[in-house]
């Protein structure tokens, strides 16, 4: 194939004019583009090129804006503009003309116009909105080429908010007689699915049609969507496994038309796509995996040809076999394949073999043993990529016995690597291994020293944090802790005595902290000596102010007496007028301390006592008095940073980006404290940064509209304690279950002894034995170090904890896309069937799917059940009465009634028999709801042919888009044995929503308090004169919201979730849609409500 481009001409300029070139006949070299290109190739310097292009751009600019320019000329201009952009010169003035060309040109120019648009703009570019109408028009065109062009551009870039506008047209195209149109439509929908999954939810059934399409191209295209959906929810598509297997069988068996062959392999891309889908479906699922064994075997056998494309399929096959539930026969064949890859002289295959090995080695360590000599060779490979992948492989097989050799190899690689990304990655891995498997203190400290010096300031900040945490929390034995710390101190003192100037700032910070904290452990070491070393650091120009503040803190801990104090006084003096406020603060502290003997003895002498966790009033309640005084004196109440940001943004005129930069306060405050003191305290103070957000979580039950008082009031903060405790309890255990590991490790038959050829050089043999020690088949179980005979030396505590603050901060920075995603997954979990989604969204409740035993739902009885509603409820709105379940003699139905302050679930128990039914018990339970009995006395007995009514009052514990009550009814009929039946009943969250009547001022105050928020752009109802009012009215009607005020383009709306959880909504017209921002004190409430708003608007 290398002859394909063989005619390339190196002497470019001299040959440009020839017309005999077969390819260049169409491109008259006299055209403007031709002369531009020729002009550029004749130039000698970059500077000249720049001048020429600038001239060209000026000329293009002039012409595109001239009214006399025809579309034909415009097309040529666009091509030239594209060319200039490719050379790296901006031609943004032409973007709008590209859109115009796509709009007004005939097919000829339109094609170039669309191309230019797709090359110039990206998804978020605002000009894209202007393309919507053009696309709409072209989608409706009778000219197939135009339809194709529109679909092509839509699958590349389309504004997310405008998807609803063209969705019906694209959907329609799924039934188009031409397969090319169907295929492009499927890909367009795939694109929509990627950028806004909830928009295409209702067409899942059509995806199935596409999957069954008679044209293989359309079917292949639909697999992209399925791969994506199955990745997100493999459980939902298990039923399709057989179909995918059948398709793969047909493909492998050569049933597709010949055009799909590539190098006489049938549709390789399709095969790979299917193999990926199968591996997702078969993962951790034995029965599903069994369906695919046969076809996998066949794929392995068929792919025997000696070419890249078959290797690509084989590789995917092997991956699939190792991902799904294992079958020994297949594993053997797959292992042989990997072996062939690894041993191949072709670099590409060798690399892929190593990659596959890395992937499977956790399950099958004996494979690494088999190829140990190859692996050793690859360690010294001239291609860094191969070397790197080998290290990755070694990383996976590290254990306590081979850790020193492997870490050595990694550090060796690090010393030669120049790429920041690789350095950061590898440094992290070395640190992880060192923490996990360190054989002794010396090694650990020395390795970490290298990590810090090599990793420099680009490494992940959690490496030094974890290291310090480990030092300070210690592990099992007090004596060991002491030794480790002592060794660290010794090592750092000698480092500082050497050339500390070469050390990165992060490392210096670690050193300062450790010396400050632990240098007293080395008794013969005079604190003044340490102080002098630290002073040297301060004097260096390269030392950053952050490091300096670490140094000053260390000095604060060290200044005890004598010379140390005088050094401290000197230093503090010189920094007490520093421009850096943090430094100045530290210097003042140090100064104060060094001049005050009494304070020193009180603070510093306890020594170890300082390690006890301190009681910290994280709510800052001691400031309450100060704050209320200040407020009384007319000071403005505190606003969290994101609020300030928002107000700033609003103050700007014509802000097109309405919600910019919501700062996650919790994150920032957390990280600052972490940096200063790596103790457990930082965690709770991190949470306290959220105190305003959390204040409502478990808050009092009445609504207080006095926002000022609440922010600083004691009540609010008392309530906040609870969530903190919860967060700490939820910390996941850092130790993963060893049982799981054992299972996977054991699932293969023990390996035969590795075959080694004797002629390898002795040093390599030696390396091999040190690298692969502990990897023999007997010890394969402990390979991952999870169930080592020797317990892990250092436990990692940090990761689990730091994750607890994530959920709170997530809600602060939730972008529209994540909201989409969240909605989608919620929806998929709850209601996988299409019909349900629709029914549920209508406000009626579809319980059919949840029914356990339900025979005759349409008996006339059901219709007149409503007459049995208690008198006090009959006047109110009640939902449709739907059947729940039946036993031999009882039929249960239910509906809910919305009262102003509560929601009543009414259960009708109809006794169809002639006899009385005794001992009737109805038990309700729900994860999301609080259920309490509302009737005076529970129903015990239902007489023959009668209806008994139970009432339950429901409140929401945990919001979700739909909430479910599960229940059980048991009774005795006459003297027969007891009977039971189960049922479940689903309600939309909206049934718990009531209007919240507040004034604009109250709204404003509450808005500040809430930080769980979500933002999304919703469809605007655009059929009237005032779209905003119309839309809000619809929402008001459907969801029972209260419109607080509408001012111009903005409207504010409030509601509450029963009993009293407020949710505020800020709506604003933006670019033809409704930008909604919801806030509440309850974490999931905004997301759930947003979902319902979206539903009711799309339904309208």
């Amino acid at each position: 194939m290398s002859d394909v481009v063989e005619k390339t001409l190196t002497a470019l300029p001299s040959l440009l004019s020839l017309d005999s070139q077969p390819g260049s006949t169409k491109l008259s070299s006299t055209s403007k583009l031709g002369s531009l290109i020729r002009g550029i190739t004749e130039l000698t310097s970059k500077h000249e090129e720049e001048k020429l292009i600038q001239r060209e751009l000026v000329s293009i600019k002039e012409q595109v804006s001239s009214p006399n320019t025809s579309m034909r000329q415009m097309k040529d201009l666009m091509v030239r503009a594209i060319y200039c952009e490719m050379l790296g010169y901006e031609a943004s003035f032409s973007y709008i003309h590209a859109i115009k060309l796509a709009q007004q040109g005939t097919a000829l120019e339109k094609r170039v116009g669309y191309l230019a648009v797709s090359l110039f703009l990206n998804e978020s570019h605002e000009l894209l909105l202007l393309l919507v109408n053009t696309v709409l028009k072209d989608l409706q065109s009778t000219n197939l080429i135009e339809v194709c062009m529109a679909l092509t551009v839509v699958s590349q870039i389309f504004p997310k908010d405008m998807i609803p506008a063209i969705l019906p047209l694209v959907e329609e195209k799924l039934n188009h007689p031409k397969e090319i149109i169907r295929r492009k439509a499927v890909l367009a929908l795939y694109k929509f699915y990627l950028i806004a999954p909830n928009q295409v939810q209702h067409i899942h059934s059509k995806f199935r049609l596409a999957l069954c399409d008679r044209d293989p191209g359309v079917m292949t295209a639909s697999l992209h969507i399925y791969l994506q959906m199955i990745q997100e929810n493999p459980e939902g598509y298990k039923d399709l496994t057989t179909s995918f297997v059948t398709i793969l069988k047909q493909v492998v068996g050569g049933k597709l038309p010949m055009d799909f062959n590539y190098r006489s392999v049938p549709a390789p891309w399709l095969q790979i796509q299917l193999l990926r889908i199968l591996s997702l479906l078969g993962k951790n699922d034995q029965s599903t995996s069994e369906i695919m064994y046969e076809v996998l075997d066949e794929s392995l056998q068929r792919a025997e040809m000696n070419h890249n494309i078959t290797y690509a399929i084989l590789y995917e096959c092997v991956k699939c076999i190792y991902t799904i539930h294992p079958k020994s026969e297949l594993l053997e064949k797959a292992a042989k394949c990997i072996g062939n890859f690894v041993l191949s002289p072709k670099m590409n295959l060798k690399y892929l073999g190593l990659k596959a090995l890395t992937y499977v080695v956790q399950q099958d360590p004996k494979l690494a043993l088999q190829h140990q000599m190859t692996i050793i060779e690859c360690l010294d490979h001239y291609d860094l990529l191969i070397k790197r992948e080998t290290l990755e492989l070694l990383f996976r097989i590290t254990n306590a016995q081979n850790v020193t050799v492997i870490v050595e190899k990694m550090l060796e690689f690090l010393s030669t690597s120049k790429d920041d990304y690789t350095t950061t990655d590898l440094v992290g891995k070395v640190a992880e291994l060192a923490e996990k498997y360190a054989p002794d203190n010396e090694w650990f400290i020395e390795t970490m020293n290298t990590v810090f010096s090599v990793g420099g300031d680009t490494m992940q900040p959690d490496i030094p944090n974890n290291f310090l945490k480990l030092l300070c929390e210690g592990f099992d034995s007090v004596e060991e802790d002491r030794k480790l710390r002592l060794f660290a101190v010794d090592s750092y003192v000698s480092l500082l005595q050497g050339k500390p100037g070469n050390l990165p700032q992060r490392f210096l910070q670690v050193i300062s902290w450790v010396l400050g904290e632990y240098s007293h452990l080395r008794e013969e070491l005079d604190p003044a000596t340490v102080m002098r070393l630290l002073v040297k650091l301060l004097e260096r120009k390269q030392t950053s102010s952050e490091t300096k503040s670490y140094v000053l803190m260390a000095m604060t801990k060290l200044c005890r007496s004598g010379e140390g104090v005088s050094i401290a006084q000197e230093v503090s003096e010189s920094y007490s007028s520093s421009m850096d406020t943090v430094l100045r603060q530290r210097a003042h502290e140090l100064q104060h301390l060094s001049h005050n003997l009494e304070l020193r003895t009180r603070v510093l002498l306890p020594g170890e006592a300082g390690l006890e966790p301190l009681e910290v009033d994280s709510s800052l309640s001691f400031l309450d008095g100060f704050v209320s005084e200040a407020l009384a004196a007319g000071a403005a109440p505190y606003k969290p940073p994101h609020q300030r940001q928002e107000e700033l943004a609003q103050a700007k005129a014509l802000s097109l980006e309405p919600y910019s930069l919501a700062l996650p306060i919790s994150m920032s405050s957390c990280s600052i404290t972490d940096r200063q003191s790596p103790t457990l305290l930082s965690m709770s103070s991190g949470l306290s940064g959220d105190s305003t957000d959390l204040s409502h979580k478990g808050g009092s039950t009445t609504l207080k509209l006095d926002g000022v008082k609440r922010v600083w009031g004691k009540e609010g903060y008392l309530a906040q304690r609870e969530p903190i405790e919860e967060a700490q309890i939820e910390v996941p255990s850092p130790l993963r279950s060893p049982i799981q590991q054992t299972e996977t490790g054991n699932s293969h038959s023990p390996s035969p002894a590795p075959t080694q050829s004797p002629e390898h050089e002795p040093e390599k043999q030696q390396l091999a034995s040190s690298l692969f020690v502990g990897l023999s088949s007997q010890s394969s179980v402990c390979l991952m170090g999870k169930s080592e005979p020797m317990p892990q030396r250092f436990r990692k505590k940090a990761k689990g904890q730091s994750s607890t603050s994530a959920p709170t901060s997530n809600s602060l920075i939730s972008l529209p896309s994540t909201v989409d995603h969240l909605l989608c997954t919620n929806l998929l979990e709850k209601t996988p069937e299409l019909s349900e989604v629709h029914a549920a969204a209508n406000g009626t409740c579809d319980v059919e799917a949840a029914l356990v035993s339900h025979e005759d739902s349409n008996t006339p009885q059901d219709l007149c059940l409503s007459s049995h509603l208690p008198a006090e409820l009959s006047e109110l709105f009640h939902s449709e009465i739907s059947p729940l379940c039946s036993t031999q003699s009882l039929h249960l139905s239910a509906c809910y009634v919305q009262k102003e302050d509560s929601l009543i679930l009414v259960i009708f128990i109809t006794n169809s028999s002639d006899f009385a039914v005794h001992d009737v018990h109805v038990d309700l339970d729900s994860e999301q709801l609080e259920v309490s009995c509302a009737s005076d006395s529970p129903v015990k007995e239902v007489r023959g042919c009668c209806v008994a009514v139970c009432q339950y009052s429901l409140t929401v514990k945990r919001p979700s888009a739909h909430v479910t009550v599960a229940g059980m009814v048991s009774h005795q009929l006459h003297i027969e044995t007891p009977q039971t039946a189960q049922f479940s009943y689903e309600l939309p969250l909206t049934s718990f929503v009531r209007p919240l009547k507040v004034s604009t001022e109250e709204y404003g105050r509450m808005w500040l308090d809430f930080t769980h928020d979500t933002k999304q752009n919703l469809t605007l109802i655009n059929d009237g004169e005032e779209p905003l009012t119309d839309t809000l009215t619809v929402l008001k009607k459907k969801l029972q919201l209260h419109i607080v005020e509408i001012i111009g383009m903005e409207g504010i709306v409030a509601c509450r979730l029963l009993p009293d959880q407020p949710c505020l909504m800020h709506c604003r017209l933006h670019a033809g849609s409704l930008a909604v921002w919801m806030r509440s004190s309850l974490p999931d409430l905004p997301d759930c409500l947003m979902y319902h708003c979206q539903r009711s608007l799309t339904e309208h």
């Binding site: 394909v4 481009v5 390339t8 070299s29 094609r111 090359l119 092509t152 795939y190 890249n308 590409n348």
Partner: protein, 159 residues
């Protein structure tokens, strides 16, 4: 399987075609292009056709004086990407009739059209060679019949 971007550049490091399937700022695009062109050109012929770059995998292949270079994610299949490049070259070859770098320089918009017909949004759209070329030819036919009409207009080259 999604491709992140595709770049075509010459042995002299001149960009000939760029297609981005992920939204990036112009500045970033320029930076990536510059870095990658440098790295790829520095590779020796016997090395693998893959390289690690940031968190992406770069798959490249040289055809005469042109480098074809694709970025994929780490879990993607490098070999099949290599074959995607090859199929694209085959398509170009068939369309231009033994393609050379000049064809792509002067008709880069055609090269884009073919690419768009083959890969859509970073995914292989149509892997049948015949079908891709059919689609392109149909659109071309339309162009030509129209350009004949336009061709009769006077002074069309005078701007």
């Amino acid at each position: 399987m999604t491709m992140q971007f595709m770049l075509l550049f010459s042995r002299q490091g001149k960009l000939r075609l760029q297609k981005w399937y992920v939204p990036l700022s112009d500045k970033e695009k320029k930076k990536i292009t510059r870095e990658l062109v440098q790295t790829v050109l520095a590779r020796k012929p016997k090395m693998c056709s893959f390289l690690e770059w940031r968190d992406l995998k770069i798959v490249y292949k040289r055809y005469a004086s042109l480098y074809f270079c694709c970025a994929i994610e780490d879990q993607d299949n490098e070999l099949i990407t290599l074959e995607i490049i090859h199929r694209y070259v085959e398509l170009l070859d068939k369309y231009f009739g033994s393609v050379c770098e000049l064809d792509i320089i002067f008709n880069f918009e055609k090269a884009y059209f073919i690419l768009d017909e083959f890969l859509l949004g970073g995914e292989a759209q149509e892997t049948s060679k015949k079908n891709v070329l059919k689609a392109i030819e149909q659109a071309d036919l339309l162009q030509e019949s129209q350009s004949e009409d336009w061709g009769s207009l006077p002074n069309e080259e005078l701007l």
